[in-house]
Symmetry: D2
């Protein structure tokens, strides 16, 4: 940690900073430049130190040197992690495609979709039973009934199930039916929920928040991991920008950035990332080329009757076509599809 | 609702849209321009209609005409709402200042701060017992013990208490001790939490999400109100932009925009909105000039020892000085300080 | 164009809007819903009509139906355009890689780089002679001398030259030496410059502005084309967001969006788009997978001595390695490298 | 400047950095922490050093300590600057209101507006003769004829004239007619234009770019000042965010931030900052409360016939009403209106 003093800071202010650092059992390293005095802080910093130094008189800025996450960092664990979900492994050489409808609507809809995506090469089934909807008047999901339909579909198709959990109180229920717990973008900083899925034994799919920095996203992973659950897969799903031609701006550069900073697997959701089905296939291919470990794709047999997210849902035949492209690009970067 | 057909859309596609609209018991109003065919939809639209029409073949775009919130809209209730919190009323002619520390740290700290801000003119006390922190290793608040200290401080100072609630399961506990429940920016779309505070009888201070549009913010208010609790006060606290000189970008234009679209009171938090104490007073004055109904300001007797948010906390004497400015600007726009 | 009247708009206000529309020789199409009156405007709208209607009493909103660009739109020209630069064609089945240093520094540096990138498969050479620098104290480029070095390098290597032009007065000079004129991100709305390159016969590489929407970018292309120069290639180079781990956020979804809306070729600059050389190769591959017609990549033989943009410049051997990946991904999507 | 080495950086990499720093005649200050080695660089840094160090092997990050602008900084000139325009001074105790139409349309329109705003208390007249328009088909301004109408209006009303200049070649012409040269948001990083107005003797109104950081804005001022023209007034006019309820997001916190970092005066444009006339007055008042030295406001006698920006233009009577509010708020913060 580096403390930059203001241009006009005098001896008493510099000394107060040095004293404070030493009181904490840390070493201060003073360096006087022509225009600024700078103090390096060496040793294990207690939480909140930066803010407390920043609030002292004469301090212009405090610059952290280390990233704030530990368990999630590649420095902590240099080899890449693999997360097992049902029969598949995310983070290995194989690309894992998770597909299915936005919302679970009925057994028929779910089964039809699951069979179609399974045949086309999806390894896991997605489907929402608890739906976070912007409007209180919108369809909120089938709740526990939806979970049961998911479990039933797994029994019939063999596809492991990924579904979202919205509140700490429902984690146990969802974990009883699902193979992987999804934490949605709007809940990326719902800290009680992160702690609760951290206490679960289920792997977690952690979506990036709508305006979360990559650092904050890794800190959210840290919350889950700090409770003992290290089976975290990150999911890039687009961030909010000024652009209106797409629902969000899919930040594919997050894939190689995460790979440099963290050992956790990262998958990409081109459906929410773009908002329009015609953009899903090109961005799915791009995600694979950028190094993603998997894809999360919305598929619905009849998008114009979907209870949510129809405009961004692929029909099964278009999904199958996309999967051919995914396989070809995967091969070109030395990978295959699970 | 207006459905814009694609340039190349033919009769069968237009007819399918017309049929779908009529099947729903709505009226379709066809209008053929030189380059596009447009269909107006008249009548009470079922939830999700826009997405379903948008997913039909030949449809380019669906343009909603009405705002999606009802109870929160000024169209629903033309006169401005007032929300009573303890002895004060937010949304009337008087500007209500809510001040106190970011976190409740000890009875001594809280009492000292409460007395100082009360003397300087604050009408309500803020203080966090449950703290949403970016890092799992940071101080997470005193929890129930913090709530008791807040209640004790209210007993001694007479100041009503505003404090944050983080999860649905804690709403009842927090409501038992506090006069107003704060929903933080990171929870603005935590829908189970919104529903739960909507079932409480306590007034709610609803912060704008870090990257929430004003429409989404009003939809969050709609969630609370749709459960029966109409005592909602909105709080602008800065949005996320590319600017790094401030912690957030305080969007003061949200104040007059909200006043046009909604009847709900709106207050401004210049502490989180800027992140630096030296910017708090100018932005507090600006907020009052822009028409805000109140302010939410962080004050700490010793910011350089605060367990959170020290850099943006005012010392009591600087808060008192700010309040003189607030009173003067309030008078200049025909208002006074509660 | 659709005019939405306010909830409270009365007959006189609606009639004034109808009269105004008819005065302009246009047809008005009135539609009264339960909560709003809406007026469709049919016919060829004069420039500025939306603003003038929007400023009328009782008008809530004016919704345009058509995109504002014409020559650049795919509706105007359904088949994809190809732009010839020297011996290569951008926009056809072959992917065109443009590579070279950020700044032209010396003949030696330029020749060394050109030979290396040419051997590795680049089809065109980039290099800046006029440099737009954030600081007036930074290296501003070799100006005319730099142009001469570029022309000399073309003579020796056979690679066509792409270089930036900063002001209308220099267009003729730059066009005399270069094969393609680059308009930089900061000049995307420098309208006199756009008009001037529109009067030139050289093809134009038009970078997307730092915070430009795709629509504004296509409008900038329209400026160039409206002067008679239809040889425009668009270049996505990252947009500004809150993320700080990358210099910009490379918006690859712009590639398929542009392909839907326009017939113009689109290339991607992963160097400026990310800001760090280690992210360039994955994003270059992703760009090709997303459907880009080419790449613009910064290469420098000694990045730690570069006069600009060293951190995002690839060394020649890393560029050669990237090109192998580009070729493989290109093949996987049915294309090849020029 | 601080160089942070990567976790795995070894002796040879650290030594190479130390050598490079000493080769440049600078002092290196080595500090080894538990997890990172950090090198402080002391002495006058040559341009581009940070990028060159950043491109060296083993370097993780380079952190600048000083701001990159000099002449524009308050460190360079602690007392606030005042800029004289015609008979008025911007940056002193008096708030200067600049008002007028977006575009100069006719002598009649200009005179009518000038008389109205002058009577209501505006000190300077604004009006565009060269208009930067998003569409090549939109009204582009009356050009030289517009400048003459402005000069004529000044002769009749005594109000000094502020008008925009779009290209370096037109600076001399515009300076011959206007009292102050406006550089628009889209040209904030048009460096040849900044240099040219820097060589003029006219004061410059420098608008903040659509997505410019405050640091980049001050660097743009530095460009003008580095050519010898120190008469620069900054103008906040809103930045681009995801919010769509306003045309831009007016960043009023930029006012106190600029006041801390620079000695230059700063004014606010609530017309472009919001895009809707009903939001202009509240934001104008807020700007004054935040400490702005002036306002730039669009006024048109008949907004529904304006050739540009009608929706955000105030009618003269509403402008007069706003001015009463401005005067009251100015008094409340110890200032008056020029």
């Amino acid at each position: 940690m580096i403390v930059v003093m203001k241009a006009g800071a005098g001896e008493p202010e510099v000394n107060a900073v040095l004293d404070r650092i030493e009181e904490m059992g840390l070493q201060a390293h003073l360096s006087r430049g022509e225009q600024r005095t700078v103090v390096g802080v060496i040793g294990r910093k207690p939480d909140g130190l930066a803010d407390r130094l920043m609030a002292m008189d004469g301090v212009e800025r405090v610059v952290p040197i280390l990233q704030p996450y530990k368990l999630a960092s590649r420095e902590f664990r240099p080899e890449s992690s693999r997360v097992r979900v049902g029969a598949v492994e995310i983070g290995g050489p194989e690309i894992v495609v998770i597909a299915g409808p936005c919302s679970v609507e009925s057994l028929e809809q779910l089964l039809e979709t699951a069979q179609a995506v399974g045949e086309a090469g999806a390894a896991l089934l997605r489907g929402g039973a608890f739906k976070p909807r912007t409007s209180p008047y919108a369809f909120q999901g089938l709740a526990e009934q939806g979970l049961k339909l998911l479990a039933q579909t797994r029994a019939q198709t063999g596809l492991g199930v990924v579904t979202e959990v919205l509140s700490p109180a429902e984690v146990e229920l969802v974990a009883a039916h699902a193979d992987m717990l999804q934490v949605g973008a709007r809940n990326m900083q719902n800290f009680p929920l992160l702690r609760e899925v951290g206490r679960s034994r289920r792997p977690v799919l952690l979506k990036r928040g709508l305006s979360a920095t990559i650092e904050e996203w890794l800190m959210a992973a840290e919350y889950v991991m700090s409770e003992g659950n290290h089976q975290v897969v990150l999911c890039e799903r687009g961030i909010r920008t000024f652009e209106t031609a797409t629902r969000n701006t899919l930040d594919l550069s997050a894939v190689p950035v995460v790979k440099e900073r963290s050992h956790l697997p990262v998958v990409v959701d081109p459906s929410h990332g773009t908002g329009y089905w015609s953009l899903v296939a090109p961005m799915a291919l791009a995600a694979v080329a950028a190094g993603a470990d998997g894809l999360l794709v919305e598929v619905h047999p009849r998008p114009d009757q979907a209870l949510s997210d129809g405009p961004q849902s692929l029909k099964p035949d278009r999904f199958a076509q996309m999967m051919e492209g995914v396989r070809a690009v995967a091969r070109s970067v030395g990978r295959s599809v699970a």
